[in-house]
Symmetry: C2
Subunit: 256 residues, 2 copies
Amino acid sequence: MTAPADSARRSAEGHVVPYWRRIELALRARIEGLTPGDRLPSDADLCSEFGVSRMTARNAVTRLVEEGLIVRVSGRGTFVAEPPAHRRADRLLTFSHEMRRRGRVPSSRLLAREIRPSSATEAAALGLRASEPIVVVRRLRCADDEPIALETAVIIQSVAAAVLAADVEHGSLHEALARAGWHLRRGTATIGAAAASPEDARLLGLRRGDPLLVERRVIADTHGRRVEATESRYPADRYALDVQFDVEPDTDRETR
Amino acid sequence: MTAPADSARRSAEGHVVPYWRRIELALRARIEGLTPGDRLPSDADLCSEFGVSRMTARNAVTRLVEEGLIVRVSGRGTFVAEPPAHRRADRLLTFSHEMRRRGRVPSSRLLAREIRPSSATEAAALGLRASEPIVVVRRLRCADDEPIALETAVIIQSVAAAVLAADVEHGSLHEALARAGWHLRRGTATIGAAAASPEDARLLGLRRGDPLLVERRVIADTHGRRVEATESRYPADRYALDVQFDVEPDTDRETR
DNA sequence: TTCGGCAACCAGTATAGACGGGTCGGACCG
DNA sequence: CGGTCCGACCCGTCTATACTGGTTGCCGAA
């Protein structure tokens, strides 16, 4: 038989949790306690440890490799990778988690929270009809009381109740959404730069015209529904993003 | 046996070309002629078309999914994805290709090309000993004669001959390196912002202090050797990067 | 005509086994 | 003592098969 009808494979919400997921989580936890360069179990080790076939074990490992947490070296083994110096642009973790990961103390100041009709741009980003109502949450995010980001989140009205009830100064907006049953999963970001407006400058403690790193994200939930569009504005000298990239195969020049 | 000892499986350099690679390239070409939302062959179709097992076909498809070219929808099929508006931060393609993709005419102006000892920062980025010699190529990249990027590439000395011989104003630096046997494959980028220096401003046609998007890349070849470190400085209003991201799994509980 | 159910598809997950080529340490030989 | 070769390991690739759950279109019954 193949997938054992093992009842413990179901999560709280009743979804089936694949075997590779358990292995992935176990490895993720194990990596926490290791240092870069340390060796991880081989494919064969994982097979016997978790009682799965090699393809299944490799599936779990492959995900961590793509995430950049570990590297596979053919003929030698699998090793813990060097962590990036900044937040990875292709991962999104809550501001609080990210700052704590870097040993800093996060805090937030709520600047505004309101329901209003969406602008044309906002409606387009979330795939709404023009001027359909949205919830806006605007926060100043700090680390060790130093302003790091000016963040404006625009959220679809269906989750208004959860957003308005949440403690967005001390808790995570995404955690509040998750509790309301909206599990955010993937998204697309556009990264650019801009000059600080007078308001940016005042809130972030800069001078007008100072360079900002601007990240615009549209985040969708598990079912692909666009839930949130956020703009984060970071002072250039306090924030950067890392990303791993592949060189486009030059072979017979595939472009796009 | 399993992998047929098919002699056509070897590339010009003698590497074995996996089956999934051929399928990947075939699909990549096919996608060119399709529009977003179009359906691609199912796993089963690919199996019979290319005469491989399903795991192999899926391997090829999975790579394109990760690249964001296509999306898989369980129960329905695989579809061409919406292309990003800007260059994807997690792909690197030559400046010329990228501009042509957007229907613009690329050109370059060579500002400097020299061999000199590396600075401490440069040596660290490339993993060299301090002040080991490097080749520096500095170019102004334009589209339709509008300056788009100020690019400074720092390259290890082993490839100096190829770099000095290359026509870097009309040809691609990476193509020159590829002809010399150095196949660049992966890298890490750090994305930030900065204010234009007087020199930036002069070359890019900006005012001093205007915001720039700054991308610093370290690129390695197929064997993991770091070959090139490049800094690109883009005027904020003429360039942006796109990236797809995953939301970090909510620490402890895996739900979803 | 509409609605319910079924069959055909389709991707997701999983098994078990196999060969290839790279890496590395130890045994063996000169 | 040094160099070479071999075998143990390990990742990369590939085959063949199978069950699950979601989607869709079609057909027949109400």
